[in-house]
Amino acid sequence: MSRSPLPYNPKILELFRNPKNLGKMEDATVTAVAGNPLCGDMIIFYLKINDEGVIEKASFESYGCAANIATSSIVTEMIKGMKLEDAWNISWKSVIEAVGGLPSVKFHCGILAVGALKRAIRVYYKNKGVSPNWLPKEPSFEEKQALKEEELAEMLSKRMKTEEEK
């Protein structure tokens, strides 16, 4: 078993031990999943959005490492009370900054958390049948990366099945 040193900072450790806004939200306006358990990384965001397009509440559940838990937790804190347009402008870099930095091999956790958030925002507007001017038609970097990770997991899983059949 090869190892890379993963010196998580105190903020990540704190969020890992005491995650904020953890758990399923029964009255969520919208939910979105990103990642794939095959990669060992999957999160779900629950958002309660009011008629003015403001996120009133946010919560999450995570199947993942400490970095995954910490970045998901911090995103739910960052977006609470935020307008959807402002929430859309959160970048993965700002999430990593907010948790006090991540080892580079864990950057994808911050990217996945923002990918899930952006997916949730898209789903919200899709359900409403509107598309605000600020919402780009093309997928954002984080959404593309989340998709890439999920496709990779599927590909590895299919390859495994094919080898088993042989």
Binding site: M1, S2, R3, S4, P5, L6, P7, Y8, N9, P10, L13, F16, R17, P19, L22, G23, K24, V33, P37, L38, C39, G40, D41, M42, I44, E61, S62, Y63, G64, C65, A66, N68, I69, G101, V105, A153, L156, S157, M160, E164
Partner: protein, 424 residues
């Protein structure tokens, strides 16, 4: 990066932050009521008796170069000869020259594979291994295939036993080397090495047979002469000796080329100055392991089964990886916790004083799950939720009881974060 007086000197900003982060992580462990170290796969604690045996060889006697003509050199020569005999005896060697010390299992496996390939490359180009060999075998073979050699990787069944029929099919006139672990390092499968060796030699007597016996030496009955194997790797820290030393047994008459060049000392296959204190420590750890071998093994096996039974009976949705009973190494416990990600679980356990490793992709540099668990047909989510523990003769029943108290709570907390998510 150099640390002087606890302060960062010559370290970059990022390195300084990493050091501070590690110190904070360590602080979070203060006040633990008990600590149980079970990550023997990756490193081990060294018992006091072993350290006491080693210390005089650093500065009181035998600190010289064993090839040189002065008193500390002759003392070193005497010590190396004396303590090597201990290891040679426990391994079942015919002569002392058959023991070649290396800095560890990785280097011994590299020497076995590369050294054999270099030595008999004109006879053939094929190397046969199993799918579940350690990375120090798999990666060397991958490297050799880039230099004109070919490789066949033999599959294993759901408990990690090698498919002997496919092994037989794979051996041909071109096969110069077979390398199969005697005991799998991750899931503890005791492989039918004797049968495998017979199959290989019956089909091609010229093929060199290597076994990585790092998880067999001191744990199961293992004797190179009785087995009649050509090459065998052993490791010191896996029997609670110091890190930084292992050995490659090379049967008299088998040709292996050096893979490193430099000053040759008392042994021809690994250049450089022999590390006398480490050889002493390795020998002392061997003595302690073998002095009451049967009792030690029985006690360790009892602790292993207590741990396995406690976890599998006490926690839902768990799977034992590898075989049960006598076909499993007496020290090995490898369990997958479904709906539980391994890295998060290892951290939670560490914060409660239980130190283990995981086959999760998240704990690995390459972010891929354990190749051993994937090869035995475990799903990725089962590999991600796996925990590897090894018990030793130094562990107690109280240690195991403490682990059994901590694990269910840790699993429950991590599963609580997964919540209602479907993890398949």
């Amino acid at each position: 990066m150099i640390l002087i007086g606890g302060e960062c000197e010559l370290a970059t900003g990022i390195e300084c932050r990493m050091i501070e982060n590690v110190r904070e992580l360590l602080k979070a462990h203060e006040g633990l009521k008990r600590e149980v170290y079970l990550d023997i796969e990756n490193s081990s604690m060294v018992p006091k008796e072993v350290i006491d045996a080693m210390l005089p060889y650093y500065n009181q006697r035998a600190y010289g170069n064993p090839t040189l003509t002065h008193k500390p050199g002759w003392e070193a020569f005497e010590a190396i000869m004396e303590f090597s005999q201990e290891i040679a005896k426990f391994l079942g060697c015919k002569t002392l020259e058959e023991v070649n010390f290396t800095p560890g299992e990785t280097e011994a496996n590299n020497l076995a594979l590369m050294g054999t390939a270099l030595s008999i490359k004109d006879k053939g180009k094929k190397i046969v291994i199993s799918e579940i060999e350690p990375l120090s075998v798999l990666h060397v073979v991958d490297m050799l295939t880039k230099h004109g050699f070919s490789a066949a990787k033999i599959p294993v069944d759901s408990e990690g036993f090698i498919n002997l029929r496919k092994l037989e099919d794979a051996i041909d006139k071109e096969t110069i080397l077979v390398s199969l672990s005697a005991v799998n390092h991750e899931i503890g499968t005791i492989e039918p090495i004797k049968e495998a060796l017979k199959i290989v030699k019956d089909k091609n007597p010229e093929t060199i047979f290597h076994t990585d016996a790092s998880d067999a030496y001191g744990k199961i009955q293992f004797d190179v002469k009785e087995l009649d194997v050509d090459l065998a790797t052993v490791s010191s820290y896996k029997i609670l000796g110091p890190r930084g030393i292992g050995a490659l047994y090379v049967k008299e008459g088998v040709n292996v080329e050096r893979i490193l060049e430099g000053q040759i000392g008392t042994q021809k296959l690994w250049p450089g100055v022999e590390n006398t204190p480490l050889i002493v420590g390795f020998a002392k750890a061997s003595q302690l392991t073998f002095q009451s071998f049967r009792d030690n093994v029985d006690r360790v096996r009892t602790l292993r089964d207590r741990l396995i039974d406690g976890i599998t009976r006490g926690i839902s949705d768990v799977r034992l990886n590898g075989p049960k009973g006598d076909k499993r190494a007496p020290d090995n416990v490898n369990i997958s916790f479904l709906r539980c990600e391994g890295e998060a679980l290892t951290i939670e356990l560490s914060l409660n004083g239980v130190y283990v490793s995981s086959g999760s992709a998240c704990t690995r540099r390459l972010l891929q799950p354990s190749h051993v668990l994937v090869a035995i047909g475990r799903k990725f989510v089962e590999a991600h939720g796996s925990i590897l523990m090894k018990v030793t003769r130094c562990h107690t029943e109280e240690d195991v009881n403490y682990v059994l108290e901590v694990i269910p709570k840790a699993v429950e907390r991590i599963r609580g974060i997964v919540g209602s998510m479907e993890v398949k």
